[in-house]
Symmetry: C2
Subunit: 200 residues, 2 copies
DNA sequence: GCTTGACTTGACTGACCGGTCAACTATACT
DNA sequence: AGTATAGTTGACCGGTCAGTCAAGTCAAGC
């Protein structure tokens, strides 16, 4: 699978950026090819369908996310509290930067795709669902560590992770709809204070 | 503007249902006309564009929401706490019912549209933004009443309303992506426990 | 009976959709 | 030099997109 040209990457990145900036349905293969400076024939040499490309785009997003946010924020060198703080700071500055560049708050690429495609493409929905689960696990493990360190009361870590994730995604939608990253500055740090107590 | 036929309404309701079940971009004027049993020419007699229709659809959604959820849950007859409980219960049963009927959790119609169109249609974004603000005001007023009654500590009611709204929307996305209304049963009631303290 | 205005119809436009394909070129290995 | 492999190209497919329009129906008001 060793590539001899960078066409695959160019298509992938063009698609990623275009879809993130608008949506799956609004971005056509033609537009992707134009941005990637590639002919449509080449597109279908590397991808069998637009759906397959989208799956690759999701992977690409996640890789980028892993190599930046996850690596920086969820580092063993940081305490659980510091990890959350770092996650918020990275998220806020990222959205602020995108806003400065494009004039739009684009929100969470996964949340955007999930909202758009969950009911119309089961393959993509499933992929995003397990991605969401993975991210919630990351939060849950951090919470678990905080509890074990005695830095947090004995909450329902799985449920709290879900709730934190939901709040995070909801704020992204709010910021996107208001087109104002200030919403995140003000309210994202409150994610860390969400608690779902254990049910006995 | 007195209508002599129900065509307008049929188009509006067909569009509302189709868009809610998938998305704005995925639903064509043709499909709407087919569902409404109307020829495309008639569509453009009542609506000048698909965008205008979408604005009407948003209004229609909101009217329905006002006449059911808002009227039932945000009644003066209920205490602030009861209002939230009622809101959650109505939301959960609604999504459960939709899931039973369609096999899909469809989430929040406003959140869905906002996520899809916020970056590509400024008119629709603005409309949804003010709608969001209106809904947050409803929550804020309820919180304010709870504070004044001494049933709640002296929190930042506006910020808390925003946070509650965000959490609500985020949970909808989670339930939609997992295609499981159980998420709402488990985590939606926790909305009422969110607090953003006053900054001094 | 005639006019008016409300609505309906179906054919049409040009652009774009996702996707296909046979022919072509450039490179790498033998 | 020959051949296989990887990648590229542009023309093409049937279908759908949002939107247009001239011609028609029909019921109410005069």
């Amino acid at each position: 699978m060793a590539m001899q040209s960078d066409t695959y990457t160019r298509i992938l990145e063009a698609a990623r950026d275009l879809i993130y900036a608008s949506s799956y349905a609004e971005v056509g293969v033609q537009a992707i090819c134009q941005k990637a400076q590639v002919k449509k024939g080449s597109f279908y040499y590397f991808f069998t369908s637009k759906q397959e490309l989208t799956l690759a785009v999701i992977d690409n997003y996640y890789e980028g996310f892993k190599d930046s946010v996850i690596r920086e924020a969820f580092s063993a060198a940081l305490s659980p509290t510091e990890r959350f703080q770092k996650l918020f700071e990275l998220t806020i500055t990222r959205q602020e930067q995108i806003y400065a560049q494009t004039g739009h708050v684009l929100g969470c690429p996964f949340g955007n795709l999930a909202t758009e495609m969950a009911t119309s493409d089961e393959v993509i929905r499933t992929k995003l669902d397990s991605l969401f689960t993975r991210l919630q696990r990351l939060i849950r493990d951090t919470l678990q560590e905080a509890v074990e360190r005695g830095e947090m009361e004995d909450i329902d870590v799985a449920a709290t992770a879900e709730a934190m994730f939901a709040y995070f995604e909801g704020l992204m939608i709010l910021a996107k709809t208001r087109n104002d990253p200030g919403v995140l500055r003000k309210l994202l740090p409150a994610t860390a204070r969400i608690r779902i107590p254990k049910t006995h």
